[in-house]
């Protein structure tokens, strides 16, 4: 489109505004949980070149947010906490964040930021000069009007966490500014229960409902979701970039359009640079009909193709699990077999611009033998299966096993505090693998 076209569009837009008198229409982007500077978690066997690309992913997602703001000519950007990953925030992250918002400010797009449990005000803020047009809320509730040509478009009320551990219901302190054309509340908070996140600044839908705001711009929960569409709209945009295997799928921000004081459109736009794919458990790949290694390679490769399409031109990190009574079971049980398989498949995908990183291939296959026969025969295998069943069903027995056999590692000073000891359910999960290992060792075929 050439300049004339833009001009005509602009004039038409202006005309429309004048004719309908809708000078108060505006757009904004709602984002949260940028976790700038956060490394990807729980990744195995990453080559440093791939690792370096992942280091940038969070920042690139942030750049994507900025681009969306500019492309959609929004009036302002909301960031609902956890801009940074750690209390000490990280210098590079702070500088890049400042630079990004400065870029927006130059284009006349304002930014409103609150801090959350990951980056509370008690953390380190480097000596940086912030551009005008960036509003960082303090530890008291503040209200900032957004104006266009002297006319107030909306009010944004927000508060940052003074420290990480905020357990009080901050939402109750929010009061809708009187005579506001559109009121937005900006807060990092855990809404309801069962979000799977720590209950910081806990609140309920009723609390938010009672406040009289038009839009609750929340942060904290990493999965995007519109909790309520209107009166008030309650929105979690989630983090713009998934950070570990449990944050698989699309990640992005919400683009909101307000017309005549009403939220008329709310669209989710993806910003993730690397997408996670978790094909374990129920999504694991059934290979019970696979007889040869070649078929197996073909199957996994086809799966990678599929993921590559689903990733929509992004890079992908894939955790894969194989399941089923597999003729190849004994092969898979060999020490380095899966590692070799992974490297063989990896070659094809890892060097692309939008790479596909096959992070792990788990083996949850069984010997293609009828364990029931062993159970019935009451032989030694039956004894083992019985004991494993007992561990599955009796928490006491499992606990006793854990205490006796696992405590030397998990209760020692050595075990990194960042890693929690295995939970009961995790232990139950690995019983499958214990079963596979033992059956394979005791009656598995000798590898040819």
């Amino acid at each position: 489109m050439d300049f004339d076209h833009y001009l005509i569009l602009y004039v038409l837009q202006a005309l429309q505004e004048v004719l309908t008198g809708n000078m108060g229409n505006f757009k904004f982007v709602h984002s949260s949980d940028l976790h700038l500077g956060s490394p990807f978690k729980g990744l195995l066997g990453m080559e440093s070149s791939t690792g370096n690309r992942l280091l940038e992913a969070g920042f690139e997602a942030f750049q994507n947010i900025l681009r969306i703001c500019v492309q959609n000519k929004v009036d302002f950007l909301l960031i609902a906490g956890d801009v940074f990953d750690a209390e000490d925030r990280g210098l590079k992250a702070q500088i890049r964040f400042r630079d990004g918002l400065a870029e927006l400010a130059e284009k006349g797009i304002r930014s409103f930021v609150v801090h959350g449990n990951h980056d509370p005000l008690s953390g380190w803020a480097a000596q940086l000069e912030w551009p005008e047009g960036v509003k960082i809320f303090g530890d008291r509730i503040e209200t900032a009007p957004v104006t266009r040509e002297g006319e107030i478009l909306c009010h944004i009320q927000g508060i940052s966490y003074p420290k990480a551990d905020i357990r009080e219901n901050l939402s109750r302190n929010f009061k809708r500014p009187p005579a506001s054309p559109f009121a937005i509340a900006l807060l990092h908070a855990n809404l309801g229960t069962g979000t799977g996140h720590e209950p910081y600044a806990p609140c309920s839908i009723e609390d938010l409902d009672a406040s009289g705001f038009d839009y609750w711009a929340l942060g904290h929960v990493h999965k995007a979701g519109v909790i309520r569409k209107e009166k008030p709209a309650i929105v979690y945009p989630g983090n713009p970039q998934g950070l570990h295997i449990n944050e698989s799928g699309r990640h992005g921000i919400y683009l909101a359009t307000v017309t005549n004081g009403h939220l008329t459109d709310l669209s989710f736009l993806p910003t993730d640079v690397v997408r996670w794919f978790n094909l374990t458990g129920e999504s694991a790949l059934d290979i019970s009909s696979i007889e040869t290694e070649e078929e197996l390679l073909g199957l996994i490769d086809a799966q990678c193709e599929k993921i590559n399409t689903e990733a929509e031109d992004r890079s992908a990190i894939v955790r894969l699990e194989l399941r089923g009574r597999a003729p190849l079971h004994s092969h898979l049980c060999r020490e380095t077999y899966l590692e070799d398989l992974k490297s063989a498949l990896q070659e094809k995908w890892i060097h692309k611009d939008s790479f596909l990183f096959l992070e792990r291939i788990g083996n949850n296959t069984r010997l293609p033998v009828n364990l029931e026969a062993h159970r019935k025969a009451g032989d030694f295998i039956a004894e083992i299966l019985e004991l494993i069943d007992q561990a599955r069903t009796s928490p006491d027995f499992l606990e006793a096993l854990k205490k006796e056999h696992l405590s030397p590692l998990y209760e020692s000073r050595l075990w990194p505090p960042e890693l929690s000891p295995p939970s009961e359910s995790e232990l139950r999960d690995i019983l499958n693998e214990v079963e596979i290992l033992l059956v394979d060792q005791l009656i598995g075929e000798e590898p040819s």
Partner: protein
């Protein structure tokens, strides 16, 4: 399975031997070398095949010595497969079995294999077919088989699996010190954490650097300001220093100028002009002098030439100088005329001679012609008349002779024609002769004209001679000169004449240029007088003094102008402030100020450079910090954590697997394995008559244990040889019972196993055999009659095969 019949085609010492066996106990009795062991080995090989591969090449002690095929057949009976025979021969195929069913149908190798399959050849040898040597111990391999056979697993020791799991888990982590992958990872994590901690301490430093940078910037600005001020003063002083000599020159010039009186009018470039005029005058005077000398030289030369001419011509000697040219011209003319007459005279003389010659030739011609004209008349007619006459006679002759009339006429005709022609030509010549007589008259007339012309010429020659004489008389040449004489005289006259004329021309030229030069000199003198008058100088001396004054004035004025211009260039447009400033100071003072400023400026520049460098360093330091390795380190840490977590999970699996396996084994040993050992214990108890009542097994040490009636445990190594053999015998019995419970029943063969048993225990053993033979066909090989008798004690219906 039972063996019904044995047929040996040939095997070692045995050949063509057939035996029918009892389904229960069979005592195979024979003395030494009767072929007991050979038979034992035969059955074994027919069931499991001949040794193959490398073993085959070894010496075969059982090759038939009777030149028959090595091998034979067994008739077998199985509960499931029924009756069938197995036949094998050593040979190309190393004794592939020929299985034939009872109904005559071809059986399959697989049938046999499936019956024997749970029990491998080695295991069969170990448990079902053993001699006294095997009884002494069980090899580790056998032990493993023994044990796993009991557990119903593949050939593995649970303890081996346990150890493997333990090793794997310990590779990952163990409580005791030592390199494990988890410890390695944790060390890495701690190192990364330490580095992160170190780097995060830098955040205060970062802020400090930012503040210091700000301070440095302010300092830099203030120093820059004072530097600029000093620089300005320094530049100004430098200008003053340059202006000072100019100023001094200006002042002096102005003073000098005011001392010189003002001259109102003085011609432009007066002095140059004066010198020019004076030069011209002296030059002209010199020229006049040279010209006058030339004039007098020309005059004396003229006289010299005149003298020479006078010698040539007497005329000239007596004539005045003025008429000389005219005289010369007249002499020249006379000489030319004399020359002309002389030439004409010579021509006439030549003409006279020519005429004389012609007259003489004509006279001789005339004489010749008169003689010639009288001769031809007599001689001309004779030949002309003879020829026709002859012809006419010939013709007539012909006619008279009567010849052809025609030919005669032709000849006569020709004769007539020839006569006519002759007559005509003779008439012509007569005419010519008459005409010659007329020709002699003009010739005589011509001779007369020549004589007349010669007379006239002689008169003219005389006249010319007198003309010449008058012409040359006054020039001093003989009256009748030669051409050379006239020519020589004429050339000499001509040369001197032209010299004289040139000389006269020089004379006249010199006279005229002299008068010109004098005129010019007068004009120059007049110009000089005018110049002096114009500059109001009475004389050249005064003129010169005035001109010098004027020149100095002009120079001073120019100096003033140029110094002002230079000062302006230096930036001093107005003189008075400069004057004020310079009057207050001195060069020394200015130079000192410049020096001071220079020192100050240098120190300021140095300070600025230092600050700039410091700023650069701070910026670099800050930039380095902004590179911020922490995210990278955190990513590394995350990966190490993930690695640790993953290893932890593997470790958990190994540990739990080991725990479960251990528990299962304990339980199995407690609940199931004892059944095998119980059976064995019972046999052992029977054989030892209650001395030992139980057998146990230590999987860790892979050793059996025996318990006496007081339940004291004893290692079998400590047992007597007989007791130990009895224990292993009992263990085999226990295993055979456990296989039986799994549906595996194979014939049992023993080779003199009771040799080390005392009679009491032998009886116990025999009893055990008898019990077992109820279910398992037994072939008991022995060479001791008493052993056979022991069995007879218990059972009367046993079959004893005498070999």
């Amino acid at each position: 399975m039972r063996i019904r019949k044995i047929h040996i085609e040939g095997f070692g010492v045995l050949h063509d031997v057939s035996l029918e066996l009892s389904p229960g106990m069979n005592i195979m009795f024979g003395s030494n070398e009767s072929g007991k062991t050979t038979l034992f080995e035969f059955i074994h090989r027919i069931l499991y095949g001949f040794p193959r591969g490398r073993k085959k090449k070894d010496y075969n002690p059982y090759a038939s010595i009777h030149k028959t095929k090595t091998g034979g057949r067994l008739l077998l009976e199985d509960e499931k497969a029924g009756l069938f025979s197995v036949e094998r021969y050593e040979g190309e195929n190393s004794g592939d079995s020929i299985v034939t069913r009872a109904d005559g149908g071809k059986g399959l190798e697989e049938d046999l294999v499936s019956i024997l399959s749970p029990i491998t050849q080695d295991m069969y040898r170990d448990v079902f077919a053993f001699g006294v040597d095997e009884l002494r111990d069980l090899q580790e391999e056998s032990l493993k088989r023994f044990y796993s056979a009991g557990l119903g697993l593949k050939n593995v020791f649970v303890s081996d699996v346990l150890r493997l799991l333990e090793t794997r888990s310990q590779e990952i982590f163990k409580t005791t010190r030592g390199e494990t992958s988890i410890r390695k990872n944790i060390t890495k994590i701690n190192a990364i954490q330490k580095e992160i901690h170190g780097l995060s301490l830098q955040k205060d430093q970062y802020d400090a650097i930012s503040l210091e940078l700000k301070k440095t910037d302010e300092e830099l600005i203030s120093i820059k300001e004072s530097h600029d001020r000093s620089r300005k003063q320094f530049d100004h002083d430098n200008l003053l220093k340059k202006a000072l000599p100019l100023w001094v020159e200006l002042s002096q010039s102005q003073n000098e100028l005011s001392a010189i009186p003002v001259l109102l009018a003085f011609p432009q470039q007066a002095l140059v002009r004066l010198e020019k005029i004076l030069d011209r005058i002296s030059e002209l005077e010199n020229l006049a002098k040279t010209t006058a000398e030339n004039l007098s030289r020309a005059k004396s030369r003229f006289r010299e030439i005149h003298g020479k001419l006078s010698e040539l011509s007497p005329d000239i000697r007596e004539s005045p100088e003025e008429s000389l040219p005219g005289l010369l011209d007249a002499d020249q003319k006379d000489l030319s005329m004399a020359f002309v007459f002389l030439s004409s005279l010579n021509q006439k003389k030549d003409k006279m001679e020519t005429l004389e010659e012609k007259k003489r030739s004509l006279q001789s011609q005339l004489t010749m012609a008169q003689m010639n004209s009288a001769v031809p008349l007599q001689t001309a007619y004779i030949p002309g008349l003879i020829a026709p006459l002859a012809l006419a006679i010939t013709g007539i002759a012909f006619m008279s002779q009567g010849l052809d009339m025609l030919w005669s006429f032709i000849i006569v005709g020709i004769a007539i024609i020839l006569s006519l022609v002759h007559i005509l030509s003779t008439y012509g010549k007569l005419n010519d002769f008459r005409k010659g007589e007329d020709h002699f008259a003009p010739m005589r007339k011509e001779i007369d004209t020549y004589v007349l012309a010669m007379k006239t010429l002689a008169d003219e020659i005389e006249q010319d001679k007198s003309e010449i004489a008058t012409r040359v008389k006054k020039i001093g040449i003989s009256a009748l000169p030669t051409i050379e004489e006239i020519e020589n005289k004429r050339i000499a006259l001509n040369r001197l004449g032209s010299e004289l004329r040139d000389c006269k021309k020089d004379w006249e030229n010199s006279e005229s240029s002299l008068s010109n030069i004098n005129g010019n000199a007068d004009a120059a003198r007049k110009e000089l007088a005018q110049l002096l008058e114009a500059s109001q100088a009475p004389d050249i001396e005064t003129f010169r003094r005035l001109a010098a004054q004027m020149e100095k004035r002009t120079r001073l004025e120019e100096t003033i102008k140029s110094t002002r211009k230079n000062l302006m260039i230096l930036g001093f447009r107005e003189i008075s402030p400069l004057k004020d400033e310079l009057e207050k100071t001195s060069l020394l003072e200015i130079e000192k100020r410049i020096q001071d400023s220079q020192v100050l400026l240098e120190s300021l520049v140095k300070a600025m450079n230092e600050l700039r460098q410091k700023k650069g360093e701070l910026l670099e330091k800050r930039r380095m910090m902004e590179l911020d390795r922490i995210p990278e380190l955190r990513a590394q840490k995350e990966q190490a954590l993930a690695e640790t977590e993953f290893l932890g999970k593997k470790w958990r699996i190994y540990r739990l697997a080991a725990a479960i396996l251990q528990k299962a084994r304990e339980k199995y040993e407690r609940e199931k394995q004892p059944r095998v050992l119980q059976e064995a214990g019972l046999f052992f108890k029977k054989m030892t008559a209650g001395k030992y009542h139980r057998i146990g097994f230590s999987p860790e040490e892979k050793t059996f244990l025996v318990f006496d009636y007081r339940d004291n445990v004893k290692n079998p190594i400590l047992l007597s040889r007989g007791a130990r053999e009895q224990m292993y015998f009992a263990i085999r019995f226990g295993l055979i019972r456990s296989f039986e419970s799994n549906g595996i029943v194979l014939p049992l063969m023993t080779d003199d196993i009771l040799v080390n048993f005392d009679p009491e225990r032998s009886r116990g053993a025999a009893q055990a055999f008898m019990e077992l033979s109820q279910t398992h066909q037994t072939l008991f090989f022995t060479c001791h009659p008493e052993t056979a008798n022991i069995f007879k004690e218990f059972f009367s219906d046993i079959m004893i095969h005498q070999l």
